[in-house]
């Protein structure tokens, strides 16, 4: 049943979407085609789907490690940005490097950057018992301002007419393209490897098991001697690490420089991906592709159907709503309770 719920949610979302198209005066068949088929109609479209899904799956797999342990890291967006800054910073500080180690170094820096940003809420939680939902979320805005400050200030392209962006990265700091003529790049491989590592960690390691136990039954975990602190630290750091990698994959991939607009909210969308994917790497892979499709379908719906951009947000919202709803009805049986006071 656990795995049926996302399918149910997707089906309900589609039905609702069809009704929505009908209400908006569009043919539901045409709407479905434009929204869900057309983005994948050619090789380029499919490649774009994977490109768009890459940061989502990276963030989501990291988050799901924490979510399984009841560690609610809401700040993947900020960790992604700091990761992008750290990784991008390496590219900017070695503008003439031809070393093949430059890209790996950028990824390491990005992972460390994301972990550093996630370590703050982890420390606040374990030291002061501060709610990590709030602290990690608030640090997103700090990270955004930091990006803004750097691209308006010290890291601004000196030849860029004062516009808020860094230099374009040198070619050795750009991820190699996997399929000629598309934008899908080596970050996809990184993401898939992370998914596999994530699967092994969650399903085959003792630490992963401990996290799961602490998450599902905190007390049982404590009696078994599993450290709640360690659960928090691992949950946050893994989330930060993966989000940091996602940040690097964006700036060293399709963007090619640091600007104020690194992520259109991947860190937040990844939470939906993690839940629709049942906190399982395979599910996350599929869910991230679906989420990417929703983004791209929204663009197509604007171009060909003249629908407003919010249509993608509506679909995302429907999906999350139905998955949560299905879960409620799967886990609980609702009974009308009349007369008993």
């Amino acid at each position: 049943m656990r795995y049926l719920s996302p399918l149910l949610a997707v089906a309900l979302m589609l039905v609702c979407g069809m009704v929505l198209f009908l209400v908006l005066g569009k043919s539901p068949v045409e709407g479905f085609k434009v929204f869900f088929i057309q983005p994948m109609a050619d090789r380029y479209g499919v490649a774009e789907l994977f490109l768009k899904a890459t940061p989502l799956m990276l963030c989501a797999v990291g988050l799901s490690v924490g979510f399984r342990g009841n560690v609610w890291n809401i700040g993947a967006e900020g960790q992604l940005l700091v990761g992008a800054l750290a990784g991008g910073g390496v590219a900017l500080f070695f503008p003439n490097s031809h070393s093949p180690l430059l890209l790996p170094a950028m990824f390491v820096a990005g992972a460390l950057g994301g972990m550093l940003w996630a370590a703050i809420p982890a420390w606040l939680r374990t030291r002061f018992n501060a709610n990590e939902i709030l602290t990690s979320l608030m640090l997103v805005y700090v990270a955004e301002l930091m990006v803004s400050w750097l691209v308006h200030g010290p890291w601004k392209d000196p030849d860029g007419f004062n516009f808020p962006q860094t230099r374009l990265f040198q070619s050795k700091a750009i991820l190699p393209i996997l399929v000629e003529g598309t934008r899908v790049n080596a970050a996809l491989i990184v993401a898939l490897v992370v998914l596999i590592i994530g699967w092994v960690f969650m399903n085959r390691s003792f630490l992963g098991y401990q996290m799961k136990v602490s998450g599902q039954a905190e007390r049982a975990g404590r009696y078994a001697g599993f450290s709640a602190r360690r659960t928090v630290w691992i949950g946050m750091l893994v989330g930060g690490c993966c989000a940091g990698l996602a940040g690097v994959s964006e700036v060293a991939g399709p963007i090619g420089q640091i600007t104020e607009h690194i992520s259109p909210g991947y860190g937040f969308a990844a939470m939906i991906v993690a839940f629709v994917g049942r906190l399982e790497p395979v599910g996350i892979l599929l869910a991230s592709l679906l989420m990417a499709l929703l983004y791209m379908g929204g663009e197509q719906a604007q171009q060909y159907l003249g629908l407003p951009f919010s249509i993608s947000k509506v679909f995302q919202g429907l999906l999350l709503f139905f998955i949560l709803g299905s879960d409620v009805f799967i886990h609980f049986r609702l009974r009308l309770d009349r007369g008993r006071k």
Partner: protein, 364 residues
């Protein structure tokens, strides 16, 4: 049989691909990429007005579509590309952050045409366009100088890029040309669109004594805040930006610098269709019809109206430049000597306040 088969394939192809472009003498497809929702006022709204005007002027020859709220990150390249693969021959990308994506797609499709607003990279099939917003700012400044009683103007601004600084400095020059005692205070909200912050900044400036307010942000919040506080101070007025926002400040919004892209879009598309296009690097002002003052509020006295009309004419004829020397920086350093106007290159590299701006520029 062969024929039947091929017509079936063709039919299927049209169905699957782009059933929308099946008509025979297909009108040229023109795409627009917007950074924010169209809404009912602001930067994107003005571009969309321009799009509609162009489509009307070229009725039958051109068909347009747009995608709004396209993030300036990795998604822009795909959207621009999809417009081309969807059949567009010409694409206008209307925000600075689309520069590099536009350039990338332009080099991949050398037989299509791309136009990028407010950037600086051009190519064989890529033009750029922008408007001299500062000309309108100067005129607003003059009105502010004539109308102010507190000799303080408040300016809510987004980011210290040259375009925004040109506006602040032009407004200051205009205001001080008629009121040498005047000073301009600036609050940076670090966002192009954040009505809450914009409003707060406006209220702060009012509490600091500003009775003339304007903004370089995308919402109508500042104009609305001024309208609200106009009750307490009958001499509190505002100047709108991007669009005519008088309906948000019927009593207090004196005028505004409005952007007009319609003529430019029509002209450019015509040139491309006629095959006479030879590259675009347009930085148009009042003269080119790309900037205009919104209708003046009844609160502006007749004499001031006359002066402004005269000044507007002088700018149009090139007899007056908002940054005519001597232009003096905030710290007293002379930037442009008497006898010459600031050059376009100098304008494009503006990273300072002129004398008369009371705030300090955020340091890098």
């Amino acid at each position: 049989m062969q024929r039947l088969k091929s017509s079936i394939t063709l039919g299927l192809g049209l169905l699957a691909g782009s059933s929308l472009f099946a008509a025979e003498p297909a009108p040229t497809q023109v795409g627009f990429v917007y950074v924010s929702p169209v809404g009912d006022a602001g930067w994107t709204y003005q571009h969309d007005q321009g799009r509609k005007e162009m489509e009307k002027a070229m009725a039958g020859k051109v068909k347009t579509n747009f995608v709004e709220n396209v993030p300036e990150g990795a998604d822009a390249e795909r959207v621009i590309r999809q417009m081309i693969t969807g059949g567009a021959k010409i694409v206008f990308t209307t925000s600075f952050g689309y520069m590099n994506p536009t350039e990338k797609v332009a080099s991949a499709f050398p037989d299509k045409f791309f136009f990028h607003a407010t950037g600086y990279k051009t190519g064989k099939n890529m033009g750029i366009y922008n408007a001299r917003f500062y000309e309108g700012r100067y005129l607003c400044g003059v009105i502010a100088g004539k109308m102010t009683k507190s000799h303080v103007a408040g300016y809510v601004a987004a980011f210290p890029i040259p375009e925004v600084l040109q506006g602040i400095n032009a407004f200051t020059e205009g205001m001080r040309s008629v009121d040498p005692k005047a000073e301009v205070r600036v609050i940076w909200v670090n966002s192009w669109f954040d009505p809450g912050k914009e409003r707060e900044a406006a209220l702060t400036l009012i509490s600091q004594g500003a009775d003339m307010l304007t903004h370089h942000t995308d919402s109508t919040a500042v104009v609305q805040a001024a309208e609200e506080k106009h009750k307490d101070n009958a001499n509190l007025y505002s100047f709108s930006y991007h669009s005519d926002m008088s309906k948000y400040g019927p009593k207090s919004c004196l005028t505004g610098t409005t952007h007009l892209w319609g003529d430019f879009y029509t002209r450019t598309v015509k040139e491309v269709l006629a095959g006479t296009w030879k590259g675009t690097n347009v930085w148009g002002g009042i003269k080119d019809g790309m900037i205009k003052l919104a209708p003046l509020n009844a609160a502006v006295p007749e004499a001031v109206k006359k002066d402004v009309t005269k000044l507007e004419k002088e700018i149009k004829e090139g007899k007056r430049h908002p940054f005519a020397g001597p232009v003096v920086a905030q710290d007293g350093k002379e930037l442009v000597p008497k006898g010459r106007n600031m050059t376009d290159a100098e304008l494009g590299a503006m990273n300072y306040y002129v004398k008369g701006v009371a705030s300090t520029l955020p340091k890098n």
